[in-house]
């Protein structure tokens, strides 16, 4: 299979933008990625567009130029952006195309996501009973994890505080005001042990990448960033997942564990080789659990790591350097491409005030969410 390079990245800020449509934001993100890549829309041979709210992401063509290329719309839960990225990469790996675009865009209302549980394969009464909520799943998962591995309430607050601090350094973030551990601990309980300021919010935004075969990239850039791995996995029977009315008494590992292993194998590296990490922090508990599920620590070590500041920008394993979902919110279609945008800025040394010191060379990103789907991508110099 051919090697793939991330030639350019673009982002429309994440936040709330009144009447501006997700499609406009998507087109802006693509334009920025094209400019960053040094190519034009006419050079692009195919594209994948991801969204939850937009039925037809291919409408960005009307803002970029109707060149007639194949443009495929995808939705795959919280792993939508990782899916658009993987499919675009596969189109190049296979030799079918040389240059493609993956774009994600969304525009959500306020409050937790809601849908018809029947469309998730859950019983119709599951919603009537008040169970069809992702937030209560995250509350239960981290409550058990804290019990089993000695994670404190303060550590949950430390994760959120770190991500707000990183968000304050990111001009594209939704939340740019630092928040202390105490303020977070005093915020309203939503789903024990998770409080208001420990959760991300659905919001609006877009992000895009231009991918290119390594061969072709040699003509276009002297500093390529390689897309070393992309992996997607769904939940196995017996895993305890979002929207599970039942599960087996002995749980299977979460899909992130399998996606992570597959991605390391593809890239030929291990977690010890990773310099900078973007994890799905739907809530601060999710970031803690995902640190272990992706191989960055053993269960329970997070308590000391957070106390020591290991995952801050200046720490030994910076996590969610752009503020993650907690500071950026989650426009589902765009979220994973925001992670890639941040990793590319960091590997190029262009992350400004957020720059991780020591010239990071390997970046890792992970998505997880409803309906129990995970995506992992690895990039490197």
């Amino acid at each position: 299979m051919r090697e793939v390079v991330v030639l350019g990245v673009g982002i429309h800020p994440f936040g709330r933008f009144g009447d501006k449509s997700a499609i406009e934001m998507g087109a802006e993100a693509v334009r920025m990625a094209l400019g960053d890549a040094g190519v034009t829309w006419n050079d692009v041979q195919f594209a994948f567009g991801g969204s939850f709210e937009v039925d037809n992401p291919d409408a960005v063509l009307g803002r970029l130029g109707r060149t007639g290329i194949p443009f495929m719309d995808v939705y795959n839960g919280c792993a939508t952006a990782a899916t658009a990225l993987e499919l675009t990469a596969d189109g190049i790996r296979s030799g079918k195309y040389d240059i493609g675009v993956a774009v994600g865009m969304d525009k959500h209302g306020h409050g937790a996501f809601t849908s018809d549980p029947v469309h998730y394969g859950a019983p119709s009464w599951y919603g009537d009973a008040g169970m069809f909520l992702t937030t209560k799943f995250f509350g239960m998962k981290i409550n058990r994890y804290m019990h089993d591995f000695g994670i404190s309430h303060e550590t949950l607050a430390r994760v959120a505080s770190k991500n707000y601090e990183n968000g304050s350094l990111n001009p594209n973030a939704l939340r740019r005001t630092p928040m202390s551990v105490e303020q977070i601990m005093e915020s309203r309980m939503l789903n024990y042990p998770l409080r208001q300021y420990m959760f991300c919010s659905p919001d609006e935004g877009a992000a895009a990448v231009v991918l290119c075969s390594a061969e072709k990239a040699r003509q276009l850039t002297s500093n390529p960033i390689f897309l070393r791995a992309t992996a997607l996995r769904t939940r196995k029977a017996g895993a305890y997942e979002v929207h599970s009315s039942s599960t087996f008494p002995e749980h299977e590992p979460a899909p992130t564990v399998f996606a992570s292993q597959a991605a390391y194998e593809q890239a030929g590296i291990g977690p010890e080789d990773v310099d900078i990490v973007q994890l799905q922090d739907t809530d601060s508990g999710a970031e803690i659990i995902h640190m272990a599920e992706n191989g960055f620590c053993n269960d329970g070590e997070q308590e000391q790591m957070l106390a020591d500041g290991d995952t801050r920008i200046t720490g030994r394993l910076p996590i969610n350097t752009d503020g993650g979902l907690i500071a950026n919110g989650e426009p589902i279609g765009a979220s994973g491409l925001r992670q890639i945008h941040e990793l590319v800025q960091q590997l190029r040394g262009n992350a400004g005030e957020r720059q991780v010191p020591g010239n990071p060379k390997v970046g890792y990103s992970q998505l997880y969410g409803a309906p129990g789907t995970a995506g992992v991508s690895i990039v490197s110099l």
């Binding site: 018809d116 009537d128 909520l133 239960m140 058990r144 009315s245 008494p249």
Partner: protein
Amino acid sequence: MPLVVPFAEDVFTWPSDKPQLIGCKCSECSAVFFPEQSACGRCGSTAVERELLPTTGTVYSWTSQEFLPPPPYAGGETRDTYQPMGIGLIDLEGVVMVEARLTECDPDRIHIGDRVEMVIVPFRSDDDKDVVTFAFKPV
């Protein structure tokens, strides 16, 4: 007396002196699921049989639902009348784990590892009938 009806059909046996959750068991691989479904979620076999589940178990984990769940929640409360509820993942004697409402949501009154039993609790009052649901209560 008003009619007492379950909030949904085929979730638990009703009317009954000792209501039980209605699950199913795969005849091929013995996996158990709740509620009853048409095929096995582990092996795909369509040879699944109705199985009544144990009424006692242990709290594997729990959380509180402090805000009024958005639609399609059908409990009938408003933002002003809603009282937080507990939600747990209950290990039913090693047979299967189910998500269920808890009668408690205060960390001083419910804990991981607590023994619980199934009870039928009020869900909503309609004009002419009382709608009930299942929940688990510490024993």
